[in-house]
């Protein structure tokens, strides 16, 4: 910071080009090369976070009533974007291998029979926010094929690709497609810091032109001060090491979370086992509403994101939750999961008590009332 102030004060405090400095684009290319992509500099635009890239793309492509397709659940921050441009948003279910591309095909077919076609398909293929799952290579190929065959744009939003803790890297959609139908969105938020607000989009020239026009109208250019700061960081040449250290830290936190979930969540719950990224997605019995459960968890000073935020209709997903393992220490994670597990188990038992027709006295299993949380033996050991 001090160095920027001394050496580049004049430039750092001026407007810059709308699409970002050449040096920033070179840094973007370097980051993308780490995942096997090599975009042309003129296809890159530097934005105020990946969030702005999403907003500009939607602004450019979507007219009210247009169809947009995304995953179910989808990135909660994308929901207000699609809504504000009045898109008709369809959500395609996922499993452990990411978006069900077969169901996506069916959806496109159905739309085609009505003479309609999505404006774009929005996907977070790697370590998805919020579900934590990753699109398999086979499905990536099919998705790109579908895009070519049906001439549909795909938005690949990839903030977490470099944060892999196990398994082999998967080719980004952008690489598989060569930049014909895939618009790529990246960010420094998860590999440097979210506060500097640097993201980018890579798009073919006709789309890029419109995005740049939109950018001009919105904020003229991305903060030059932030770009200088990012360049300073990449100039030091230690960014790969830094990501390496993040991976180490996050891997152990993820392991702590998965272990704690096994230990403290009731058998009625299921959850994803992410190979990277920041999130685990847990699905609870359908009679549990996680916005209500959150009220109970907050009294124990723990929080999670209720799943409904990841659905456009705000109704589905009410029995699911997103857990973030990046921002707390392993010990805090274990304690937090224990507390959520305790309030959840309490609600599950309550439901079962209320619904069971033959409530036999089970003194050994009865929970003490009040704030005391009973110790639960790990599954399999009891």
């Amino acid at each position: 910071m001090t160095r920027i102030a001394q050496e580049s004060a004049a430039e750092a405090l001026q407007y810059g080009p709308t699409e970002g400095f050449d040096e920033t684009k070179a840094a973007v290319r370097m980051v993308m090369e780490a995942e096997g992509m090599s975009p042309e500099p003129e296809d890159i635009i530097v934005t105020t976070g990946g969030q702005q890239a999403l907003d500009l793309i939607a602004k450019t492509l979507v007219d009210p009533g247009d169809v947009v397709v995304c995953e179910a659940p989808t990135y909660p921050g994308a929901v207000p974007v699609f809504c504000s441009y009045e898109a008709e948003t369809h959500q395609v279910p996922m499993d452990d291998d990411g978006m069900r591309v077969d169901q996506l095909e069916e959806l496109c077919e159905r739309l085609a029979s009505e003479g309609r076609k999505p404006k774009f398909i929005y996907s977070v293929p790697s370590f998805q926010n919020p579900a934590g799952v990753t699109l398999s290579l086979e499905r990536r190929r099919r998705l790109v094929e579908l895009a070519h065959m049906r001439e549909i744009l795909v938005i690949e939003d990839n903030p977490y690709g470099l944060l892999r803790y196990e398994g082999e890297a998967q080719a980004p959609l952008y690489q598989l497609d060569g930049g014909d139908y895939v618009i790529y969105v990246g960010t420094l938020s998860k590999i440097l810091s979210p506060g500097i607000r640097i993201g980018w989009a890579v798009a073919p020239p006709p789309v890029m032109e419109k995005i740049a026009l939109g950018k001009q109208a919105t904020d003229l250019c991305t903060s030059t001060l932030s770009q200088y700061f990012a360049l300073e960081y990449f100039g030091e040449g230690r960014w790969r090491d830094y990501i390496g250290s993040l991976r180490e830290i996050y891997r152990s936190r993820r392991d702590a979370m998965l272990e704690a979930l096994d230990r403290h969540f009731p058998p009625q719950a299921t959850w994803t086992r992410p190979h990277g990224g920041l999130f685990v997605w847990a699905t609870l019995p359908d009679y549990i509403d996680t916005s209500d459960l959150l009220a109970k968890a907050l009294r124990e000073n723990v929080a999670f994101v209720p799943g409904a935020a990841a659905y456009v209709d705000g109704r589905r997903g009410s029995n699911s939750m997103r857990l973030n393992f990046s921002a707390s220490t392993a010990d805090e994670i274990r304690e937090g999961v224990r507390r959520i597990g305790a309030v959840l188990s309490e609600q599950v038992q309550l439901y079962e008590t209320i619904t069971s027709e033959h409530r036999l006295p089970q003194p050994a299993q009865r929970e003490p009332s009040g704030d005391v949380v009973p110790f639960r033996a790990p599954r399999g050991e009891a």
């Binding site: 009679y287 549990i288 109970k296 907050l298 309550l350 439901y351 008590t353 209320i354 009332s369």
Partner: protein, 317 residues
């Protein structure tokens, strides 16, 4: 005067409180008072002792704010405060207690039964569901005894929906009410120093009921103030509100929420000891309809607080 504005706190209605407080602070400043905003955290008492305010404006909502807790602290510190006193706050916050008092005072309130979670866990309260549904019918309203802003309020359309609704409501409080559903119009009467202000009708635009989002997002609910009601009905509604205010021992102000059933009879749901003061809130809206602007309202509320303290001291000596 030096006015401490108590705000925030850790309740689920914290955000609402911050919005109420922001508006109150602006008004107090333009009235020429010295404004000292205080976030209600573990330093609350210490801050109050240091500050020695002439009066405290309580802009807290929900448990921990309008349940008598800060009121009790202000009593012991000898700081006059706005709104109802400790006992009235306790009565308003607890919907079960409030409904018993209303019933005793002959104020109409929908029939209900209430249990805590122990009744379900240990006494098999769920086995009484048959009797409960025979008495209250469906849809059945299930809600936590102590919460606000419609959080945890569920409607069960049939027996199948009851367990889920109970689990939701019991996430907010250990005690829940099962209440007879009153179809009709949703009304709110704010009472200022014992006098009912013009009646507000709230008509949610999309949702079939008045939930948290509808309440605080501008444009989600249509408000009509004064509500378009025949004179005799309006008089009944105001009367029910005044009687609720006195039955619960309120002073300063309170907002009474009620349903007007399809026969035009009011049924009181609850009283709020510290109604919201945000831009979309009903109390300021009603005051405005009575020709009392926001600044004047704030000024009246402060005066009432100081008067009440004076009266209490006079009766003690």
């Amino acid at each position: 005067m030096r006015v401490a504005v108590l705000k925030g706190g850790s309740s689920l209605e914290r955000q609402v409180s911050l919005r109420s407080a922001a508006r109150v602070e602006d008004a107090l400043a333009s009235l020429g008072h010295e404004v000292a905003p205080i976030d209600a955290d573990s330093d609350l008492v210490r801050s109050l002792k240091e500050l020695r305010p002439d009066v405290a404006f309580i802009a807290l909502h929900g448990p921990g704010g309008e349940d008598g807790t800060p009121q009790e602290l202000l009593e012991i510190l000898g700081v006059p405060y706005t709104g109802p006193g400790v006992a009235a706050c306790i009565r308003c916050m607890d919907k079960v207690l409030a409904k018993h008092l209303l019933r005793e005072a002959g104020v109409p309130t929908p029939d209900w039964v209430a249990f805590n979670s122990t009744a379900f866990r240990e006494l098999g309260a769920a086995d009484a569901l048959e009797e409960i549904e025979a008495r209250l019918g469906y849809p059945l309203v299930v809600k936590p005894a102590a919460q606000g802003s419609s959080l945890g309020v569920r409607f069960a359309a049939s027996r199948d929906g009851v367990p889920e609704a109970l689990v939701s409501a019991l996430s907010y409080d250990d005690r829940v009410l099962l209440e007879r559903h009153v179809p009709g119009r949703e009304l709110a009467v704010s009472v200022l120093d014992g006098d009912p202000l013009p009646i507000v009708e709230a008509r949610p635009k999309e949702e079939d009921r008045f939930n948290y989002e509808a309440r605080y997002e501008i444009g989600r609910t249509e408000y009509i103030c004064p509500a378009d009601l025949p004179d005799d009905v309006a008089a009944d509604v105001r009367d029910a509100a005044s009687r609720t205010y006195s039955a619960l021992g309120c002073t300063g102000f309170a907002r009474v929420d009620l349903m007007l059933d399809t026969d035009g009879r009011p049924d009181v749901l609850e009283a709020n000891a510290i109604p919201g003061l945000t831009d979309t809130s009903l109390f300021p809206m009603a005051a405005d309809a009575a020709g009392i602007g926001f600044e004047e309202l704030v000024s009246r509320i402060i005066e009432l607080a100081v008067e009440r303290r004076g009266a209490a001291e006079a009766s003690r000596t």
